[in-house]
């Protein structure tokens, strides 16, 4: 079969690409579009390192076919910052040193953005459950959760939590 021609919107830009059926959206992002921020950890939907937002829904890009992106609006980690200005979630991850090797970080940033879009004032428990599909083998999660809670407070216009 010839390749599929897909037209989609990625990080605000209309984008066209060609892909084979078996190529996942993650394959296309990394190998065809050179958007290598999304990572492949497990390729089975367990680790969340490939998280993207598709039409407002948080998904694993390794569990979505590239061809399914047709007509959709996709946000990857490359689309979170506003030009050179980091998103509050990104800044708080740096502030709290909520990363060590950094491999899981793009997935956490995207998943946190989706959380705060849906729920600007999550409890710590809600944040931990929401991020249960993002695995980090370095930090032990505490710094990540502190960064998430402070980013949420900052985005609500509140002073940072102690």
């Amino acid at each position: 079969m010839s390749k599929h021609h897909v037209t989609t919107t990625i990080n605000g830009e209309e984008t066209e690409f060609l892909c084979e059926t078996q190529e996942t959206l993650l394959d296309v992002l990394r190998n065809t579009l050179n958007l290598t921020g999304s990572k492949e950890g497990c390729a089975s939907g367990d680790c969340g390192a490939c998280s993207v937002i598709a039409d407002g829904t948080l998904v694993c890009s390794c569990l979505m076919l590239g061809v399914e992106a047709e007509g959709k609006t996709i946000t990857t980690v490359e689309g979170i910052a506003d030009g050179e200005t980091l998103h509050p979630v990104q800044r708080q991850f740096l502030e709290h040193a909520a990363l060590q090797c950094g491999f899981c970080t793009p997935g956490f940033i995207v998943a946190t953005k989706a959380l705060l879009d849906a729920n600007p004032d999550p409890t710590e428990e809600e944040a931990r459950y929401w991020l249960a599909g993002n695995l980090c083998r370095c930090t032990g999660y505490d710094k990540i959760i502190r960064a998430v809670m402070d980013a949420a407070a900052e985005m609500r216009g509140e002073a940072r939590a102690a």
């Binding site: 079969m1 599929h4 084979e20 059926t21 078996q22 996942t24 390729a43 089975s44 939907g45 367990d46 969340g48 998280s51 598709a54 829904t57 948080l58 998904v59 694993c60 390794c62 569990l63 979505m64 076919l65 061809v67 399914e68 047709e70 998943a111 989706a114 959380l115 459950y129 929401w130 991020l131 249960a132 599909g133 993002n134």
Partner: protein, 294 residues
């Protein structure tokens, strides 16, 4: 890898023709959260993927004749966001919500969970307890099949190769009804059931059970409807003698295997315990009280 074809038909007829016309294996796809993993591992080698999500009716939830019709590719996230469905069938919605992460919930569906045909599928005992039926479409039109008749063995369903599930129907809810699903896992999230149990009851005004369905998962090659366990509840309130009968009936239905998640003896014991606890939640909900489930 030989070339893999993909089609996203916009009608049931077109989808059925594609499935029926494929020379090799053709797989319908809803959210794809199981299918893509099986594709990647090489466990499945289809020649065609038929993406069903563009077909009218496959995504969405509507109330019909007092019950609910849930499109076959409707995501767990959409179920969770539907207040009326959650109020009527909290056990079904909680069971679906237990599957995987937030990312998985964005794609995974009740019908997909059912057709993956895992003995440990979380949503299936909840749907069986709820007396849910699958609306199956194929070349001969539409047929409805009780959910407990779909899975025939691990990984296999009673659907023909040119059929797929268009929708899951949940029946009308009599007054004083409640359901619950509990699963046991050794952690708090992101795991596969060691045992799962769904209970659905209707009570009379005095709190006596008039109808009950109980289903267990991960304790046999397929999720089971346990008629004896339901019968143990009917005509009774939740006194200790009734709970003991329910517990014994749930245990008697189990034909589990021992594996890394649990031994035969352990799974049987836990099935009885979960039946008691799920029944307690279902009775509370049927009585109009808020009961915390999963």
């Amino acid at each position: 890898m030989p070339s893999l074809n993909y089609a996203a038909p916009t009608s049931v007829q077109e989808a059925v023709a594609l499935l029926a016309g494929a020379a090799g294996l053709a797989k319908p796809m809803a959210g794809g959260t199981d299918l893509l993993v099986q594709l990647r591992s090489g466990r499945l080698k289809p020649e065609l993927i038929v993406d069903t999500k563009q077909i009218p009716g496959m995504i969405g939830i509507r109330e019909e004749a007092g019950g609910f019709v849930i499109g076959g590719a409707t995501s767990g996230a959409m179920l969770e966001a539907h207040a009326a469905l959650k109020a009527a069938w909290p056990g079904v919605v909680e069971a679906m919500d237990l599957i995987g992460s937030e990312q998985i919930q964005g794609r995974a569906s009740l019908a997909g969970n059912l057709c993956n045909a895992s003995p440990a599928a979380d949503s299936v005992p909840a749907m069986i307890a709820a007396a849910a039926v699958a609306v199956i479409v194929g070349p001969k039109g539409e047929r409805t099949v009780p959910v407990e008749s779909i899975v025939v063995s691990p990984g296999r369903t009673s659907l023909a190769r040119d059929e797929f599930i268009l929708a899951i129907r949940l029946p009308p809810r009599p007054a004083h009804s409640g359901d619950a699903y509990l699963r046991f896992i050794p952690r708090t999230e992101m795991d596969i059931a060691v045992v799962g149990c769904g209970v659905n009851v209707t009570l009379d005004a005095a709190g006596v059970c008039t109808a009950a369905r109980v289903s267990v998962g991960a304790v046999a090659p397929t999720p089971l409807l346990v008629a004896e366990a339901g019968a143990a509840l009917v005509g009774h309130t939740l006194d200790e003698a009734t709970l003991a009968k329910l517990d014994a009936a749930a245990r008697a239905a189990c034909k589990p295997i021992s594996d890394k998640r649990g031994t035969i003896e352990y799974r049987i014991k836990v099935a009885g315990v979960l039946a008691r606890r799920a029944a307690a939640i279902a009775f509370e909900r049927a009585a109009g009280r808020v009961a915390k489930g999963h």
